[in-house]
């Protein structure tokens, strides 16, 4: 619906559309508005630093999730299946890293903006949207609270077989949140290359290690 056209042959500038519909009392048709939107998106942005124009070339998911209303259930299911297939599981089966590093990542909201230099590892942005530890009072509420995440889910020993499913679910959620919720507000941290596997392990430890302040306090 709103992909940025890569060919310029059919670009119609908004003024031309305005001329077509001028004098008409009705609101512009959806098609007119869609086409004007494409033209305006294309004309309004320029690349800056590491933020290139390919960032507004939507993939299928972004396109499907750009409506005022969510996509149909069938579309959502199809997207979720496709996204699930992208998840890369930890090669050595080690899901948990260091929760202290995870806390630093959760606090860090930097990375991938046009003012960030290339090659600097991104933070996880987690506190922007989630409550996590009890100590940090400055947390967002776009996502659910993750305080006592592991404890509430009965993860007392992450190495125990009983914990395996929860570890896998959580890894999948961080790697690609759209695998379980097509139009989730949460970024696809692993899939989009925002965080690497080692960083995700540290975030996993923050959420699931019984010694992490998330579960211990």
């Amino acid at each position: 619906m709103m992909t940025i056209m890569t060919t310029t042959t059919r670009i119609i500038i908004p003024l031309a559309w305005v001329a077509l519909i001028a004098g008409c009392a009705a609101a512009p048709s959806a098609q007119e508005a869609d086409q004007a939107t494409q033209a305006i998106m294309k004309n309004s942005f320029r690349e800056q630093g590491i933020a290139k124009l390919d960032r507004i070339q939507q993939d299928e998911l972004q396109q499907a999730c750009s409506g005022e209303k969510p996509p149909s259930e069938a579309t959502a299911k199809r997207i979720e299946a496709a996204q699930l297939a992208t998840v890369q599981w930890p090669a050595d089966g080690a899901f948990l890293g260091d929760w202290r590093e995870g806390e630093k990542l959760a606090q860090n909201g930097r990375g991938m903006t046009w003012s960030d230099p290339a090659g600097v590892p991104s933070g996880g942005n987690c506190y922007n949207c989630h409550q996590i530890t009890k100590a940090e009072i400055s947390y967002g509420t776009i996502g659910p609270s993750l305080y006592q995440y592991g404890k509430l889910r009965g993860v007392t020993d992450p190495a125990a077989p009983a914990s395996a499913e929860m570890l896998k679910y959580t890894w999948g959620k961080i790697w690609n949140a759209k695998a379980t919720n097509a139009c989730s507000n949460m970024p696809r941290f692993g899939h989009a290359g925002v965080l690497n596997a080692a960083q995700i392990r540290d975030l996993m430890a923050l959420l699931l290690d019984p010694k992490s302040p998330v579960n211990a306090q």
């Binding site: 909201g109 930097r110 960030d116 933070g123 942005n125 506190y127 922007n128 009072i137 400055s138």
Partner: protein, 152 residues
């Protein structure tokens, strides 16, 4: 309360005496007290200002937010019913340099002022009141400095 003339006379006498005794640094009326502003602890500021350790006073009403969304601007205010307050100093315990600013009051103004300070991190903030007979009192409050936005 003392009238203004008495107070000025008294404080001038006290200042002369103290200066003579080497207690008070040779601070001209409008000179910027560098030693105090260079102070990196509360004690260094007291020393720089040439004042004794203050005692806590309930007669200083100190206004500061519990939480500052941004340490770059923290609104604070003080007013006091203590008699003869000639100077109020604002100190931030955990700033790189402790003394934020000083205000000197004449009898023509209320001993109250509002200002805005910068805070590098969560810290105690002190309002220290110095009277014309060089008694020193303080009130303090902890202000939490948080990260308010996207953090990028």
């Amino acid at each position: 309360m003392q009238n203004r003339r008495e107070m000025v006379a008294r404080s001038a006498t006290v200042a002369l005496l103290l200066a003579g005794a080497g207690v008070l640094p040779a601070r001209a009326q409008s000179a910027w007290p560098k030693a105090a502003f260079d102070g990196k602890s509360i004690d260094e500021v007291y020393k720089g200002l040439g004042i004794a350790k203050p005692v806590e006073s309930k007669d200083i009403a100190f206004t500061a937010p519990d939480i500052a969304e941004n340490g770059a601007v923290v609104p604070i205010g003080v007013t006091t019913t203590l008699p003869g307050v000639k100077r109020i100093a604002f100190l931030v315990e955990k700033n790189p340099t402790t003394l934020a600013g000083l205000f000197d009051f004449t009898e023509a103004v209320e001993p109250s002022v509002k200002t805005r300070i910068k805070m590098q991190q969560t810290s105690n903030v002190l309002a220290v009141a110095i009277t014309s007979d060089d008694k020193v009192y303080y009130a303090q409050k902890e202000v939490k400095v948080t990260l308010g936005g996207c953090g990028g």
